[in-house]
């Protein structure tokens, strides 16, 4: 037991002696949270939309006034006058403008006679985000224009009342669970992967192997130390990230206890997984080469960015065994939904069993000799 504690002591002393490493493993995910939270969470502003008006009737004028209202208020787009539809299409294609609205001749007459009036919208669908936003904006504008000014006393359409269970979740809040998981993964990758192999290559392990320390003490000493580093990274990121994203859940003792439990089992799971992958590796370049690929392989199928249900089946299969999935789900359940222990029960069990399982597989694979 004392020998195991000696390994932990060495690892932790080393960790606290390398402030740069510590800061980098925390700062990088925070930086990612800030950049991605702001980059992905934003709305389209100031898009250039061409208006080709072949009608010039009262309804066309009403439509153009609505465009001006959008340009003056929410500023999603501003309009540019065009006379030629072909020129407008060409300019959308070459990127000089973002979209073009075509008001056909007889548009006003068709509106008044209720003769299936139509508007044309030319978009650059190679940019899904911009074209989607403009389409949505135009659709809501058209819906508003077609809604009768005086509502009928008896409504004949089905109305869908949407009830949002939680307060508005901006993208930074949405990304926080994934960012915490990423910080812990980076900590494990550096502390449990790269440093482990570097120590092996430098001969530090050779020093351990000539002492009477047992294989169990050595493996568990290194893994407990690795998990402790990941726990520190997880707690730090949870607190800093929650404050940055404006989540007050960390101030509730019960939620804090749930978060700590989740951070601990996630650390065990990540560390066990990393140790299993590195247990027979000797080349210091291997964990560095794996870092990016593993990051993609684990991060994206987790459902932290895109819903798992939108994935193809093979990617869904990866997400089932991916510890990131349960870690992200757990953090979402606590940070965004305040779901309590019941909501994270399965995540906790999965991560714990995954961590212990990978360690049990890795221990016999660990060589007590060079």
């Amino acid at each position: 037991m004392n020998r195991m504690l000696a390994i932990i002591e060495r690892e932790m002393r080393k960790f606290f002696r390398s402030p740069t490493l510590m800061i980098m493993s925390l700062m990088m995910p925070i930086l990612q949270l800030v950049i991605m939270g702001n980059a992905f969470g934003g709305k389209i502003v100031g898009a250039r939309v061409a208006v080709v008006d072949y009608d010039h009737g009262p309804e066309a004028v009403r439509l153009r006034e609505s465009f001006d209202a959008i340009a003056a208020n929410i500023k999603t787009f501003k309009t540019v006058e065009y006379n030629d539809e072909m020129q407008a299409r060409e300019d959308v294609r070459t990127g000089r403008i973002d979209a073009a609205v075509v008001i056909p001749a007889q548009y006003s007459r068709r509106v008044y006679s209720q003769d299936a009036p139509q508007l044309g919208l030319v978009v650059d669908n190679s940019d899904q985000f911009t074209s989607g936003s403009l389409e949505a904006e135009m659709q809501s504008l058209v819906t508003a224009l077609t809604t009768p000014v005086i509502q009928p006393r008896l409504a004949n359409s089905i109305a869908l009342e949407i009830v949002e269970l939680y307060p508005y979740v901006n993208y930074m809040k949405f990304l926080l669970p994934l960012t915490i998981a990423l910080a812990m993964y980076i900590s494990v990758m550096i502390g449990g992967g790269m440093l482990y192999i570097d120590d092996k290559a430098r001969g530090v392990h050779e020093g351990y192997l000539v002492t009477p320390i047992t294989k169990f003490e050595l493996v568990f000493g290194m893994n407990i130390a690795g998990s402790m580093k990941a726990v520190l990274a997880g707690i730090s990121l949870t607190v800093i990230g929650s404050l940055m994203a404006g989540l007050g859940v960390i101030f509730h003792p019960e939620a804090l206890a749930e978060l700590i439990c989740l951070i601990i089992v996630t650390s065990i799971a990540f560390n066990g997984m990393m140790f299993l992958m590195m247990v027979r590796v000797d080349d210091p370049l291997v964990p560095r080469a794996m870092f990016g690929v593993l990051n993609t392989l684990l991060l994206y199928p987790s459902g932290g960015m895109y819903p798992i249900k939108a994935f193809p089946r093979w990617l869904q299969a990866i997400s089932i065994i991916d510890p990131f999935t349960y870690c992200v789900h757990g953090f979402k359940a606590i940070l965004l939904k305040d779901g309590g222990f019941q909501a994270i029960q399965f995540d906790l069990w999965f991560l714990l069993i995954f961590g212990i399982g990978t360690l049990l597989i890795a221990t016999p694979l660990f060589k007590r000799t060079l």
Partner: protein, 345 residues
């Protein structure tokens, strides 16, 4: 068993501290250590001398439980390495070639962690650390981070680390490699002191002839995984025909010099080192020198340098392996440029 020149054992006790019997290490088809046997008496400093890749480190790693022995056995302090590895580990201190101390930790912290790994009781730990730091003259550096120390001091930290649990047998794998001459001599002095004050048995590997000569009571010459000679430095030198070595450099190379030198009185062998440079083993250095000078004068040849030395371990190594130890230090190039098209071979 490899045919090694053996000299009478100088062990004093009934049981050797280290006994290696027909040790073999194979990696697939490659035999790194070939049927090596030797023993080391308690309190002795024993050297394994050989070039890089000779199998010295493999031998030391087998004795220190770091790699399993393919065949044969090694008994360390009465314990079989294969059957009782933990008992062996408790009895030995090991300084591997690599620096195993953590550069981010202080000297004291490194030693404390290793004392814990050896289960040194808490009450004893501080005392041991103080004693070993005093022995290696690093007391005033105990709170310094290892990375701030010089190469020689770091090597002393390694030595202190290997001694922190009071082992009875000390293994050192090339303890002075990479050190400057002054630091090297300091390490030699320290090891000699430690042997005296702590009654340690030491086994060290080296490819420095001078180190083996100065430090070791007995030396085993290892080449290509085989033990080719074993004895005290004096015994090994005496086993080489010729008491002196005359090194002579002529200003120009002529093919006749080899035969002329071999014809001089008392000369036992002549080795051409480079153009015009010869090493002559002779039973009488002074007589051969006189003859050589006279011969050169009579032929009108000019000697650019001439030196007479006693036989060294270098000569012993040449005698037993047929080449110089330093030849082995020069590795062949990993990559050589292909000849240009049309170039002459």
């Amino acid at each position: 068993m490899a045919k090694a020149k053996n000299f009478p054992e100088t062990q004093s006790g009934p049981r050797p501290a280290i006994a290696v019997e027909h040790a073999v290490k194979r990696y697939g088809d490659f035999e790194a250590v070939k049927d090596v046997s030797f023993s080391v008496a308690a309190g002795e400093i024993f050297g394994l001398l050989g070039p890089n890749g000779a199998g010295k480190s493999t031998l030391i790693r087998m004795m220190t439980t770091l790699i399993p022995i393919t065949a044969g056995k090694a008994i360390i302090a009465g314990h079989d390495v294969a059957k009782e590895p933990d008992a062996v580990r408790r009895m030995i201190g090991v300084i591997p070639q690599a620096l195993t101390s953590d550069p981010d930790l202080t000297v004291q912290e490194n030693l404390s962690i290793y004392a814990k790994l050896y289960s040194v009781p808490k009450a004893q730990r501080e005392k041991n650390i103080h004693e070993v730091l005093e022995a290696v003259d690093l007391l005033k550096w105990r709170d310094a981070q290892v990375k701030t120390l010089s190469g020689g001091m770091r090597r002393r930290v390694e030595i202190a680390r290997g001694l922190v649990h009071n082992p009875s047998i000390f293994f050192l794998d090339e303890p002075t490699t990479g050190l400057d001459p002054v630091s090297r001599i300091a390490v030699w002095e320290m090891l000699n002191n430690l042997r005296t004050t702590r009654h340690l048995t030491m086994l060290l590997t080296t490819h420095y002839m001078e180190e083996a000569d100065k430090l070791c009571d007995r030396i085993a010459i290892v080449d290509h995984g085989t033990l080719v000679a074993l004895g005290t430095p004096i015994e090994l030198k005496q086993s080489v025909p010729g008491a002196n070595v005359v090194e002579v450099h002529f200003d120009r190379e002529t093919p006749e010099w080899q035969a002329r030198l071999e014809g001089l009185d008392g000369v036992t062998s002549v080795q051409a080192e480079s153009a015009g440079f010869y090493r002559v083993l002779t039973s009488s250095g002074s007589a051969t020198t006189m003859q050589l000078v006279e011969l050169a004068a009579s032929l009108g040849e000019t000697l650019t340098s001439l030196s007479v030395q006693n036989t060294t371990l270098d000569d012993v190594f040449v005698h037993y392996t047929g080449r110089q130890l330093r030849d082995e230090q020069v590795k062949p190039p990993v990559f050589s440029m292909p000849p240009r098209p049309g170039a002459r071979p």
